[in-house]
Symmetry: none
Amino acid sequence: MIRLIVVEPEGSYNVGFIARLVKNFEVDEFYLVNPKCKMEEAINFSAQGRDILEKKALIVSAFDDAIKDLDIKIATSSIADNEGDLLRRSIKPWEIGKFISDDKKIGLIFGRESVGLTREEIFKSDFLLHIPGNPAYPVLNLSHAVSIVLYEVYKLRTSSIKNENISNESIKLMELYSRKIIDSLKRSEGDEYMYVVLKRVLLKGVSSEIEAKTIVRLLRKIYVKISIAEGKKVDEIE
Amino acid sequence: MIRLIVVEPEGSYNVGFIARLVKNFEVDEFYLVNPKCKMEEAINFSAQGRDILEKKALIVSAFDDAIKDLDIKIATSSIADNEGDLLRRSIKPWEIGKFISDDKKIGLIFGRESVGLTREEIFKSDFLLHIPGNPAYPVLNLSHAVSIVLYEVYKLRTSSIKNENISNESIKLMELYSRKIIDSLKRSEGDEYMYVVLKRVLLKGVSSEIEAKTIVRLLRKIYVKISIAEGKKVDEIE
């Protein structure tokens, strides 16, 4: 299941083009967070995607309302991989194949034309996707970035070669124990990036359910040991 | 060498967006055949692709002038693969990789928003490229079709560069601390598989040196904590 989320779009032409793309690439859900443009003008650019704007698009007022219930949240940015900024380490459009499956709710999140997504919005997401382009000017127009990502996802969804599926439960448990371990170890706010990196590396690195289950078992063992080191009693450890 | 050719475009916004894409994806040559829209309005949609319109775009009056000197001519269409129509048998965007090389002049040819390319224009080309999409409505807006094809070509042209290098030292340290952690935790020989899985997942999952270094730092922290839990003194921990 693919949910496209566009946060505070400013250009009505982009919203219209994106509605058309939602139809072109059979996106399941389409959320607009607090659009800053005139929706009635968007219709002029939607062609046969008009019914998407009239019936399918869901307008919500807050980012958190748009991302709830998602299994994997993929933020996007035209700015990525700056030296030393861990939050902006990116994955590429063709690398998200392993997360796409019928039983997973995937959110593809695009930001404002002017300033993109905020760091807080990226932090709430699992990955930052970046479309590679001219290093001197990689900044795509919003709806064109959407078209490329939706095209890649459509290709991955309809291709016969699919990656083995990782269960939602294993994904949740990897996140949960990564969270608990980092909470036990962290000394400063800077250490919070260790959580971002650990979660991403594990999600990227596991390529089968049996690997995911082994990682969960290992993370749990580590967490229990660390809790003991901190003086917790065994029956206090969830 | 990639030449983008747009035949009789009707919407100035599309020409503007395409100029921007020419810059985003470093297209070598940009030809417009007999544009039907106001070029000065196109500039409003070109962002930093403005200089492409002003300096790079070459306006010619005939299709044949645009395709001359090309080694491979790839026409595009949203209508393809109709039963029995050999001319419209299509190739997919990711299948053109084999034609792309520095010593070949490749033409990517896009038609009018309203009626696409004529059969004669397709006939003069070597291939017909079609972007797969919703069978009920595969018709992309012109500039969005251009963005997807230019993205695929860019990806194919730069694919040899990809994959950032992880240092041998980080690889060794990830292995070392994975080894130490598992040795501390393992209860039986069966647990040895946790080492194999952890090492592989980390090696598969890290995609930059900064991620690898963060993982090493985290593994070391975990190892120190576990050692303390086992009653080792801090100065005994290597």
